[in-house]
Symmetry: D2
Subunit: 350 residues, 4 copies
């Protein structure tokens, strides 16, 4: 094995990224070295690339980004017992401490000391990545590589959909980026009665239709509340999955949910948003939840079970395949809003 590899590197505190030759990372006794087959680009990677305000605060270059991937076990530390060379794997990239009260009570997804691989340490836009054994997720070979590379955002969607009752319920999804699109498929697979997708971007609305949303609404031209009320006998939807993080979408969420319903918030907001607590939450007897990451590892078992048994068709979301060397072009395509999930191949096409 060579000592060096190619990787996407954010070299310094400025916009952009470069393909560089760097040392293959070392792994400790409890770590697994994975040869990356497919990595997928997330909106977070775009924030890092663009060096926006969030990135400036959180990221400490130099950094190899990338936190969605699948690959093969290349080597592992001597304490590792659950994988062998060649195993097909993905990983939970939120590394929880395992010792705080959240971790010890089944809530590692909100661990107080979490570190994210690809954000706080070097990630998967590289030929190799190092993952602690505890975070490795072994994959059934029946799961296609494309899907195996997007388990992280698919897990966000599964976590959101299954964070409360969903079978036989009406659902509105505000925001149809990749996670919103995945959520359409997941909600349908687990028996949502009807799924309404709300999205301003035309490209994304087209994808929402391909994902088989029952109704796709353009909030820039249509009266979302009026439509939802008309479609739900004037009640509003049982569940809103808020995937946009935009003030208008959040406002819509509170406007279209029924009394006693659930709003699960996943889309991150950059500014404070104003609510009329009495009207929006209290009189309605609403439940509002914050959704962070994926449940470790219930969500992983759930999404594996759904994928393995063919319950999810996610193909429309994957809008591009590129060589890792063309990373900057991929970024530019994502900027246009005309792409959803772009997959990158650090070790060449399969």
């Amino acid at each position: 094995m060579s000592k060096t590899m190619l990787a996407v590197v954010k070299p310094e505190a400025a916009p952009g990224a470069e393909i560089r030759e760097v040392k293959i990372p070392e792994y400790g006794p409890n770590d697994v070295l994975v040869k990356v087959k497919v990595a997928s680009i997330c909106g977070t990677d775009l924030h890092i690339y663009n060096w926006d305000r969030w990135a400036q605060k959180r990221i400490h270059p130099p950094l190899i980004p990338g936190h969605e991937f699948c690959g093969e076990v290349a080597a592992y530390g001597k304490q590792v017992s659950s994988v062998k060379e060649g195993d097909f794997v993905s990983a939970e990239m939120h590394v929880a401490c395992g010792k705080c009260v959240r971790c010890r009570t089944g809530e590692a997804h909100i661990c107080q000391n979490v570190k994210i691989i690809g954000v706080d340490s070097n990630g998967a836009f590289a030929e190799y990545v190092v993952i602690p054994e505890s975070n490795i997720w072994k994959l059934d070979p029946a799961i296609p590589q494309e899907y195996a590379s997007i388990l992280d955002p698919l897990g966000n969607a599964v976590h959101s959909v299954l964070a409360g009752e969903i079978a036989a319920k009406t659902v509105a999804i505000t925001g149809c980026g990749p996670i919103g699109l995945f959520a359409i498929a997941v909600a349908r697979a687990v028996g949502a009665a009807r799924v309404f997708a709300v999205e301003v971007n035309e490209h994304r609305r087209r994808l929402a239709k391909e994902m088989k949303a029952d109704l796709v609404i353009d909030p820039s031209k249509e009266d979302v509340r009026a439509i939802v009320m008309e479609q739900t006998d004037g009640l509003g939807v049982d569940v809103v999955l808020e995937m946009a993080g935009h003030p208008d979408a959040i406002r819509t969420a509170f406007n279209v949910v029924r009394s006693g319903g659930r709003i699960s918030l996943l889309g991150l907001t950059s500014k404070p948003i104003s609510l009329n607590f009495s009207e929006d939450i209290i009189f309605k007897g609403l439940t509002v939840q914050g959704i962070n990451g994926r449940r470790m590892y219930q969500t992983w078992y759930q999404m594996t079970a759904l994928l393995k048994n063919g319950k999810l068709d996610l193909h429309p979301v994957i809008t591009g395949h590129m060589a890792m060397k063309d990373f900057s072009q991929a970024m530019e395509r994502l900027q246009t809003g005309e792409a959803s999930k772009i997959l990158v191949y650090p070790n060449g096409p399969n």
Copy 2:
């Protein structure tokens, strides 16, 4: 409107039943008189017809049986405000008292003073049936009459499937009478990862396949536990829906469920069954639930939402259509075990 009607009557404490001309029933100020379009025959009706031990204890002839039906509102009492003539309706035939602690805390399905129409009072195998307004279920015309006549047993299936987590879970259904068959469709519709159907009767196994069970097992010839363990990586299924009431099926339920899993018991047993509580329940950390009737009216809303949005294909279960005058022949067909749900038309074909 004529003063008399034809009905299936159990005239006395003995096997059999007759078609008789009887008075159209009177209705009180809070009642609805329904013209029955389609009625469906339940295993309970067979018990009443055969006059078995259970029937001898519970039934007080003369009685018009029948508790699964749909029809049109023909007339109603003066306090009734929620229906009008011609409305397409079905009904919850468990009439709860509304005043006991169970009824007042959202558990009317286990009301302590419940009366069942078609068991404790005259039912739906007749041209007309009287239903209290509180128990009327108004139907969307989009729901086919055939399905509208089987909401009672479909509701049992929906109640059982949704009595705990089900999405992305493996499920075994022991016993594929009509409710077990419906449960296959419901479990699939709400995202069960895999559905194993266990049934001794060949006709029913064939129907289970038509309902798209992932695997259909004959416990008289196959080792159910071995198969389920092999299919679930040695863990057992997450959920068992016990729909047979037979000691062997109940034994199977406890044998194939995983640690921490759920067994929902619906099939009624006639004899005591022996359990090793330590091995069967305690060490496994199991949850065992008794399922009675349908939740009023959550289950009704859930099944309406699933039906209205085309999530359930129930056609294979409906194995016969007969005129009401041929009720005894229908009974004989059911005795053979070569029929599942037989529909009866008290007012002639539609």
Copy 3:
């Protein structure tokens, strides 16, 4: 029985109220006429008295206010079967329609067609009040009259405390009006590990101590977040019960709750409040609930069980007893902030 009675009447759309002689109200076939023994004054009554913006929008004079009381059955309609003359009763004053989907699925507390006696129709500040049988709550004679007159706000507290896990949890209660004070007692009775009470008003802080809050904090002088963090090993509390409705209190709620914790909102706000959804809800994986009224009738059974078995000492909250004729004086005392619950006796002292 005389044909007239004395009552507190809001005669017109202006501040104030009068004691007037009015006709004893008529009751329908499903109604119960109750002779009021004790009525209790709520903050809502103060809004009505003061004729503030909320009152101007909601209230249609003339009106007899009053929605917290106990009394004796004086007479009843002919359809009524569950009470007899002289029965000791209170009532749920939210009259739910019984026919909407919320009512039919165990969520009558958020009925879409609710009417409130004492707000939307004549209430209990009178010698007699009419209550539908469905809303009557029969009382064990073991429950003291004083407590029987405050079941409505006590029910708000019970509903809030038991709206999620509470045993062995740390709890902060922001706002110590009567409901907040009751919540202290309820939280302690059901095993909250520690109860922190946060309140600006000195009189109320003193009462909070008498209710045995583990720690009482003055947010006008103390750093609530610093104190709570120090007392909870830097984690924050598991549960916040927000009973103030004031922007500062709501801000405190989000500041002191732990990741993965629960905020139950009961205090009504008059203005929009700004939240940073990412930091305040999403990253923390929070659950935020709106609490409206009391669950019908689970909350009533729960509070009855607690009261009957001596689990709640509520005496400190009852700070005054007055004859109904002195209603305006009672209002003035409440305005000062130096009173909590004042009881009124429409039929003279007992």
Copy 4:
């Protein structure tokens, strides 16, 4: 530090045990060596001592038993980071594998590969015991040593009581061995409305009274069902905690629980028990749960919070204190049924 220590040793496959001088156990890089201050004797230890059928199947001598204790950290392996010398600790003695699906989804208490220290490997009836860091439970010095030594069985009680809703509910506890007695205290602390204790042994009934059960019933002389029905308005109790494992007690559990209630089974049975599933579970809409061990580590946080805040008085259960050398005498006292919890001091009195 000396190289040897005194320990209770089960030397061979036969009744009895001996005090022997043995080597102080070695610890690995992830282990903690604890100097035992107080150890407590469990019914399981009596099974091992008596060498009954269960013990013959499960235990492989030589073995140092003992799985309830507290002590001080004496030394630790080099990977250990969460304790230091002198720390006051107890431990969860069920060592879960951390890698099976149960462990990875928050259900380590039913880990499929669990090993129990003191049963499957050497335990705490010794001057020193070795515990993996993951299983160490650091204790607040405010918790008395006596209580710190009985967290294992107290945890069983806490797990059982909190395995479902309990606040404001009526509870029957069948069987008042130490765990049943603890359950009385826990149920009261978390707001059970009334606690009925059912126990044949007079000594234990006396302790149940000291633990403040609301009513203590002798099933050998009194009609338990009649009494419970009379005390619960004919409904039965909301919750039964079955702590006896005796067929009569289990029968009682099903006889006294209300429709829709919960039975949590903890007492281990040695023989199959016969149930009429229709009458006992299905018509009643019952939930029956198996309770195994303690939830890792929710139960530990819960019981720590209750103890630290003075919510539990457990003194009556501790009926003896003995030097470790008198272990056989302690066993004889337990055989008589006139003792509950006996504490043993391997390193002499404190």
